[in-house]
Subunit: 152 residues, 2 copies
C-alpha cells in the first residue's frame, strides 16, 4: 500500500521525484495519430523541414506521460492527483528515446475557507529526460483532502 | 485543401469554431487506462464516492480532444497548431455523452523581433459541450509563420 498524504502531511519546499518511462517513436506516433495528427508528430522525414527539425512528441503527449508518472509514482496524495488547472510550458519537445521523469516541489498550501475537508496546493513540476533537458514545466493547482478528524 | 492562414491573415478578435466530437464512456476509460489510471476516470461506481460524483474524463483527455478538434477543424494556421504553452483550467469535468466543440478567439498578435519569418499569437479557447457547459478554458501561445515574401 502506498502511503497517503493529506494536506497536513505536506509542507512548502517538499519534493517528489517520480520513476522513469521510455518514450518510443511508436508511442509518439500512436498518441499523435489519435489526438494531434500533424506531420511533425507523425513522420520523421516530414518533421525535418519543420521548426522541430525531426520527429517530436505532441506537447499533450508529454503532459499525458507526466500525468501517468505522477499517478503511478509521484506524490501519493490522499484522494489522488486532482488538478483544477495550471500553467504549462514546453521549452523543448520530447523526442524518441527520451527517458522521462517528473521532479515536483510543493510551492503553496492553502486550506479551503469554504470546505473544511480539503485544501489547495500549488506544485511546480518539471518533466526532464535522461540528460536533464526540461521537456515540460507545469505549475499546477491540486485539490488535497484534509485528514479526517477520526484518524487525526 | 484547407486555406492556410499566415500571421498577416489574423486579427485580434478573430473567432473560430471547430466541429464537434462525441466523448464516449469507452474513450474516457481508454485514455485513463493509458495516461491517468485513477478510479474516478475508470469506474463509474468508484467515481460516485469521490468529489467527481460519477465517471469523469481526465483533464488531459479533454486537452487531447481539444487539440484534435483544433487540428482537424480549428483555425487552419499555416505551419499547423504549434503551441509553446499556456494556461489551462478545467471548470467542470468532461462526462460520458458530452459532445464537445472548441470556440477560439485571437487575443494578441506579436511579430517576432528576432525571427522575421514568424510571430506569436495568443488564443483563448473554450471547450464546451452541447449544453454550453465549459469543460476547459485555455489561453495558449501559438507560433504562426509570416507569409513568405515571394507569395505576399
Amino acid at each position: 500500500m502506498k502511503q497517503s498524504l493529506y494536506l497536513e502531511d505536506l509542507h512548502v519546499g517538499q519534493k517528489f521525484t517520480s520513476g522513469t518511462t521510455l518514450v518510443t517513436e511508436e508511442a509518439i506516433k500512436e498518441f499523435a495519430g489519435k489526438y494531434d495528427p500533424q506531420p511533425f508528430h507523425l513522420d520523421d522525414d516530414a518533421a525535418k523541414s519543420t521548426l522541430f527539425g525531426g520527429l517530436a512528441a505532441s506537447g499533450w503527449h508529454t503532459a499525458a506521460i507526466t500525468m501517468h508518472l505522477n499517478v503511478s509514482s509521484g506524490p501519493p496524495l490522499a484522494g489522488g492527483i486532482v488538478g483544477g488547472g495550471g500553467e504549462i510550458h514546453w521549452p523543448t519537445p520530447t523526442r524518441p528515446g527520451d527517458i522521462l521523469r517528473v521532479e515536483g516541489e510543493v510551492k503553496e498550501i492553502t486550506p479551503s475557507r469554504s470546505k473544511p475537508d480539503r485544501g489547495m496546493i500549488v506544485m511546480r513540476m518539471e518533466t526532464k529526460n535522461q540528460n536533464d533537458e526540461v521537456r515540460q514545466m507545469i505549475v499546477m493547482k491540486l485539490i488535497v483532502p484534509r485528514r479526517p478528524a477520526a484518524t487525526a
